[in-house]
């Protein structure tokens, strides 16, 4: 079959489609977004009626996928690493309920924080929930793991975590497809109380999960995704997890690695293979992308084992790996690389020319000036770039929805007025419940919902908030005369400043909605039709 050139994220989508998936559920988040986008535009996926609409957030996505699994079908849920924090309640409990149809939880970590607030390693979550984890070393393997992950999930009746990182997700390779597996028919779980996590049932199910751990381990030992390559030089053994294997191989272009190598693609760790390595090698080097998860396990609390890696400085403790870092961990001498010439200036990302967020910030800065600086709590999205020069407009960016709740807490502490800045899509992701808290106590906060009709930063996906923001705010209980829509333009600057000042002086919850279409979406015909229908501009 002809190879097709796919990003790692797209290879996962194709693998899931070919693996008999009936639905993908997700909220956009770099570097995971392209999985769902691929299913949305794939011809075969559309012919097979595979569900691929965006969800409001990662928790709703995780739960919907679990519901699809309950009904017997194969489902995938995708998110970025911090999205798993949002979905964690459903995720951890899904290990206890187990699954009916196969369920893959695909999580894309972002070591080096290219587009994220932290670089947490999702393998901790997989271990925490005590479920099998798959971690591909390349895009072809990512395809195969997505396709085969459903089978593994159904074999043990638990969800499977598919963990990838930025480089794997956003790099292309020619992919060889395998045949398409038919979707499952609908079926109810064999045990009608499987998904009822009352304590008496949950205790039993948890015991079952504990008893299954040994089976997961045996499966890892026999998995084609793990393998042990013998080596002649036993001074060192190398454990290479996921993508790290490539950086190891890159340093041996003639495939002549002298040391034994244990490739890890499936967790829990294959105990017998790890024992073999410790039995025959003097020292073990662990290469893993993200946190030292495996290294820490093997080293032990008392650090009695001779393990090298990120904890002893052989490799940096943070940031992603690359061929050069692995080369120096292997003791290879490297030529001094040329430096970046001093004339080169940093070029940070910035809001686009003509972006409505800019006009909203210019007005907000002026209005806030009257009350004093340090009171603007922002959120996750393009408008987070308001933290940079020349705006310096915001004082926080923590997690999805935190703008409103942090403003409320700060107001509780006497920082009055407090201001929240949140985008339309982030508002319906995680802002609504926080707004309800503020309304319940009539907190003196002003919430700017900067509405651009899209989920901008991740590449302009649909926004669930489209056409609903005022009704949602009214429904939550914001006084209708304190819900004010504005067109953020230079011409309206003075009006905006006046309104913002008035609303900030108001001793209760007000919502100001600067509303203008994202400039990146002007050619989007589907959106244009929807805006016309909703009479929005």
């Amino acid at each position: 079959m002809q190879k097709i050139l796919l990003l790692g994220a797209e290879a996962i989508a194709q693998g899931a489609i070919d693996g008999g998936m009936s639905g993908v559920y997700a909220y956009p988040g770099t570097p995971s977004t392209e999985i769902t986008e691929y299913v949305q535009r794939d011809k075969l996926a559309n012919e097979l009626s595979i569900h691929s609409e965006w969800s409001s957030n990662e928790k709703t996505a995780m739960e919907a996928a679990l519901g699809m699994s309950y009904a017997g079908k194969r489902a995938m849920v995708c998110m970025k690493h911090v999205g798993l924090n949002v979905a964690a309640d459903a995720f951890v409990n899904s290990a206890i309920t187990g699954v009916n149809g196969g369920l893959i939880v695909t999580v894309a970590d972002d070591p080096s924080m290219h587009s994220s607030q932290n670089e947490q390693d999702s393998r901790f979550y997989g271990k925490f929930a005590m479920i099998p984890i798959l971690e591909p070393s390349n895009q072809q393997e990512a395809y195969e793991m997505a396709r085969k992950g459903f089978e593994l999930s159904e074999k043990f009746k638990v969800p499977v975590l598919l963990r990838i990182t930025t480089r794997l997700s956003h790099s292309r390779m020619g992919i060889t497809r395998l045949d398409v597996i038919k979707q499952n028919e609908n079926s109810l779980p064999g045990d009608p109380r499987q998904f009822v996590l009352l304590p008496s049932i949950a205790r039993n199910r948890y015991k079952g999960l504990l008893n299954n751990q040994i089976n997961f381990e045996i499966d890892s030992e026999n998995s084609g995704f793990n393998n042990y390559t013998e080596g002649t030089n036993k001074k060192l053994g190398i454990i290479a997890c996921g993508l790290a294997l490539n950086y190891l191989n890159e340093n041996y272009p003639n495939s002549d690695i002298p040391y034994p190598v244990l490739k890890i693609g499936q967790y829990p760790l294959p105990r017998k293979l790890v024992e073999k390595m410790f039995g025959e090698c003097e020292e073990v080097l662990v290469l893993e992308e993200g946190a030292p998860v495996v290294e820490e396990m093997l080293k032990g609390y008392l650090q009695r084992e001779k393990v090298k890696g990120r904890l002893d400085g052989t490799l940096p403790r943070d940031g992603e790996l690359n061929p050069n870092l692995v080369a120096s961990a292997l003791g290879f001498e490297q030529d001094e690389a040329e430096k970046i010439p001093e004339i080169v200036s940093p070029r940070p990302p910035a809001m686009c020319v003509g972006c409505g967020h800019i006009d909203a910030y210019v007005a907000l800065n002026e209005a806030v000036g009257t009350f004093g600086k340090g009171r603007v709590f922002a959120d996750i999205g393009c408008y987070t770039l308001g933290a940079l020069e020349p705006y310096n407009a915001i004082n926080s960016c923590v997690d999805m929805g935190a703008s409103i709740t942090m403003a409320k807490g700060a107001a509780d502490a006497g920082l009055i007025p407090a201001v929240a800045v949140i985008g339309d899509s982030t508002f319906t992701h995680s802002g609504m419940t926080g707004l309800l808290d503020a309304v319940a106590e009539n907190s003196p906060i002003t919430v700017l919902i900067s509405d651009n009709f899209t989920t901008g930063m991740t590449g302009q996906q649909d926004s669930k908030a489209l056409g609903k923001i005022e009704d949602i705010c009214k429904g939550i209980g914001v006084a209708p005369d304190h819900i004010i829509v504005m067109n953020p333009t230079r011409k309206n600057h003075d009006d905006m400043v006046r309104v913002l000042k008035e609303e900030m002086a108001y001793k209760g919850v007000s919502v100001v909605i600067p509303r203008r279409q994202c400039v990146q979406t002007v050619k989007n015909k589907t959106l244009a039709a929807k805006l016309k229908e909703l009479n929005l501009k």
Binding site: L5, L245, N322, M457
Partner: protein, 193 residues
Amino acid sequence: MKIDIILAGVGGQGILTIAATIGTAALQNNLFLKQSEVHGMSQRGGDVQANLRISDKPIASDLIAKGKADVIIAVEPMESLRYLPFLSKDGWLVTNSTPFVNINNYPDKDKLIKKVKAVKNNIVIDADTMAKEIKAARSSNIVMLGAASSFLDLKYEDLEAAIRTIFERKGEKIVETNLKALKIGKEAAEKQI
């Protein structure tokens, strides 16, 4: 054969189209390929790069090691210099001379070009002006691909075929424009070698 290419520019300047064209040509020749891209935050006007690796043998790393790139193709002069640590001693730096200024502290253009010309093997062409001259302002990225075409170890006809594949759905006129852009880029570079 094995060739490691770094593509450099600013988010939105079309380096991924260059990568897609080279990648298509490589796949049509049954070569192995890895192409690491930047998606997400930096696409909003930040510096972006792609690592493109082509070989007749399987490729291990998605990322090119420092000092190993055979060619840097840049659609912006300052961005061409950002990846100098990756250029091999005999590698070629092929860049557009038109700055993309979206920051306050953008360096002096003449000093910048001087610095580029100090690199051992360099080609500097004004792709923006050349693209405008053939009434194809948006094809300056393909002009740059043409300028680098002699260093890619791919047949020129294969790049032409790839351009047909990539731009086919946009119509014959766009295909022809981009083929022309490729050609003038190639010719301009040949005068400098």
